[in-house]
Subunit: 145 residues, 2 copies
Amino acid sequence: MPGPAHVGTDQLMELLSVSLGVYYADFNAAAARDKLTASQGKTLSVLRHGPTPMRALAETLACDASNITGIVDRLEKRGLVRREPSPGDRRVKNVVLTPEGEHAIDTIRANMHTTLAGLSTLDDKDRATLYGLLDRVFTARPTDT
Amino acid sequence: MPGPAHVGTDQLMELLSVSLGVYYADFNAAAARDKLTASQGKTLSVLRHGPTPMRALAETLACDASNITGIVDRLEKRGLVRREPSPGDRRVKNVVLTPEGEHAIDTIRANMHTTLAGLSTLDDKDRATLYGLLDRVFTARPTDT
DNA sequence: TATTGTTATACTCTATAACTATA
DNA sequence: TATAGTTATAGAGTATAACAATA
């Protein structure tokens, strides 16, 4: 039942832009509570999936590989991540989340009050619908670059 | 019909994180084609709604007011925006999009190929549903900070 | 030769604090 | 006093180019 009668691509793009702005501000504020920048928080978020080489981090974060060195340096200095040599390829360093790092990203997500409050207005069916739609729009087709 | 049987808040938060990451990377790449940063592109996007005081720009972009000076400086130097005195309050400056600025943000949106391709997989009904859900989650309740 | 991670550089973004001109 | 915009500053993010180690 939700949604207006007709929605053009322009309107949807505009709402996506606003939604991203709200989500990003929420994430940024939650990260800032723990003195983390958005890029640092996003990096921890990616590492939640498991150990990741520097180069793969750069691709997922959509930035140049040279930037990852500094970001991981600062996270490592605070004990939130660790660099480990890759067994298979001695050029590669895998970045691993420490227990403190896991706790940090969990805290950030728990502090995203605006987004969590927004999601709490959805019932089970709506959540499943939104999940399915976002999946189709953004993750169904991997970036073919 | 879309969507899995049951979706928890954690899963939805994770997919939102990934989805908005894809959207942001797409926006950033499209802006970079015109030698614009993400913040500059976002500023043009906000100005699409009409003339906006510097202070209001800072609130919408969720950053400190002092940053807006530099961002608007660079956009103004390129002829994409203009500062205009506010008739009612001589302290206020309204930032206005020039025709070149309008063209720039339109070009950025037209170049967001990944997002546009994803949206093109939705039919009219799905678009309306996604619109309604995003609206409820992110814009129904104004930020009560 | 190609790839991974790093360094050096220049520019942009960002928050904080202090300032000015208005209100 | 309070608010809008600016400036100065320091730290962080960013792309580009060049480099050492490894493949």
